[in-house]
Symmetry: C2
Subunit: 352 residues, 2 copies
């Protein structure tokens, strides 16, 4: 049985040592659910392997604190190992240290100054269709309602606000096949892609400042393919382009930009995910920022904060661990990050 | 047993009905060898499944007449079928009708006005390493010595002179990987290929006139590839380029042109084959041209005539059948082409 009152470092070790690769979260979800159900001040709901626990204290504000409980596959990096103030092991950084902070606060703050909703969700590391937070936002959106949300993704224990959106499109050029020995009888689709690449090469990234944070967009070919045979003029070339867009644009606006950018070419949208506004101007966010020291960076990569943003809830990333270590064999987290995150959140929530 | 004295249309049917997909030429080579060995005016040599038969009449000139005996794979197009003056079936066009003309002349012209060397060779339709004419040019180049050579590749029963050379190179651009969410930290190798494609798009083909024939060069991307993952800036892009060059250039000159054309980029030669000069100014070629009606076109595609050219023997393509039908399921040859080729060659060689 998990002891949620244990210090968050010990609790992190306990969580790391319960293997929970995506689609294998049954055990860890069962243990988390049982531990939370033992706490009389929380109302617990389970959906699949996602567990939600809420206070109902009639506070003026509600805050969601969320973390995913799955990890990427094992890579000879279990069990956990604590050495010189660094905790090593699969999931230590991404993001069981964040989960431990969250669970410890859930157990020990029975009278917080804000109502709290704790969400521990499954399947963040795999295809979107399995994502527990996505499922929850569709099946029980009221469980995610709040004035503010904190996603405990590793962010170096400082606030990374909002996130950029992402859009992937295929830009296609066409031609007409011909034998390479009589090339004037055909039209080469790869040659026709020169203008697509020239425009990409000349792309000038927008860097809008939002809530005082400078975001940085991107437009990049991530794949290119074309060709039929070594002696044939190709009749098709496809450039796959990934657009990362700042939170002041919707997916629709980003798509309109990309379509105009590649005007004259066939553009097909392959997938997309919306950005999330940092929302730092809102009172709940301001107070949170002050409580954790005021340091804040824009989040360039996409994270689940966008799901809260989509529900109208401002959200930030704030968790222990260096995000560049996520998914690495040697992932680890400084004990100091875990302790600092716990201390700052506790203080903000009116704890001792 | 093949009857080489039968009319060439009947002989074509016999040859077509002996299946001889590349690497499966044993039976057809055995039958051809046996039939030629029965002719006292010919000296026969066999190398692998390549058969050479020569006259030794002390004539002032020697002419090689050559044809390959293999076909591309079966495609539900055997046995042969003769219908309304058209002979259908695998190899009917490429190039057993030419072989039949060749074999019929070998059997029935015992006193030609030029010494003749007949070459029936294996494995033209597959990788160059197996090509019977290439092997012969290395093991027994004296068997290919001549003043003039005729390759009976389908050419619409008119002369297609010389052939263009071919060179394939990879043009490579490099960059530096980075996460697509922080693209300014990397260098996109696909974007870097825009200049490669821009140069290809602006390419202005040389069209040199040689022996009165206008050749037409080409420079074409035949493949392009690049990409690591949907969220990663690619660090490599490769454009495979096929250059077809006119017979006034050597492989070395063609390579120098391509390297200069892509100056500033990494260029790696993948394979090459030399062009063949038409050689129409030479007396033997002139007389041949007059004998077959004077109509002549440049050959744009690469053929084995280049192997003769490499040995200093001027060579032309001249055979029944439309070259555009080669390798097609529905390949066929007009009886009229077979008869005309046989008649014209016979007249040129002093036959009745």
């Amino acid at each position: 049985m998990l002891d949620l009152t244990a210090d968050p470092v010990t609790l992190t070790r306990q969580l790391v040592d319960i293997e929970s690769v995506s689609r294998g979260e049954q055990q860890i979800a069962d243990e988390i659910e049982a531990a939370l159900r033992a706490l009389p001040h929380l109302e617990v709901t389970r959906r699949g392997h996602t567990v939600v626990a809420r206070t109902h204290l009639g506070r003026a504000e509600r805050v969601v604190i969320a973390g995913h409980i799955d990890t990427v596959p094992l890579n000879d990096n279990l069990p956990s190992r604590l050495e010189d103030g660094i905790l090593h092991g699969l999931g230590s950084c991404d993001m069981k240290s964040g989960d431990a902070v969250l669970l410890h606060l859930a157990a020990t703050l029975s009278e917080p100054n804000r109502d709290l909703t704790f969400v521990l969700y499954e399947a963040e590391e795999i295809e979107d269709e399995f994502n527990g937070l996505r499922k929850l936002s569709e099946s029980d959106p009221h469980l995610m309602e709040a004035d503010f949300a904190i996603l405990m993704e590793p962010s170096g224990a400082i606030v990374e606000a909002g996130c950029q959106g992402t859009l992937r499109v295929d830009v296609r050029t066409t031609g007409e096949r011909a034998h390479a020995a009589r090339s004037w009888k055909g039209v080469n689709a790869i040659h026709g892609a020169h203008e697509v690449l020239a425009r990409l090469n000349a792309y000038d990234a927008r860097r809008p400042v939002i809530d005082g944070l400078e975001y940085h967009e991107g437009l990049n070919a991530v794949f290119i393919s074309g060709g039929v045979a070594g002696n044939v003029l190709p009749d098709e070339c496809i450039v796959s382009v990934n657009h990362r867009f700042a939170p002041d644009r919707s997916v629709e606006e980003a798509e309109a930009f990309v379509r105009e950018f590649f005007g004259g070419f066939e553009v097909t949208v392959r997938d997309s995910a919306p950005a999330a506004m940092p929302g730092l101007g809102l009172p709940a966010a301001k107070e949170f920022l002050d409580a954790v020291g005021g340091e804040v960076r824009p989040k360039f990569g996409w994270t689940d904060v966008a799901r809260f943003s989509g529900l109208g809830v401002p959200a930030v990333n704030f968790g222990p661990g260096d995000p560049m270590l996520a998914h690495k064999q040697e992932e680890h987290v400084p004990v100091e990050h875990i302790e600092r995150c716990e201390r700052q959140l506790r203080a903000w929530l009116g704890g001792a």
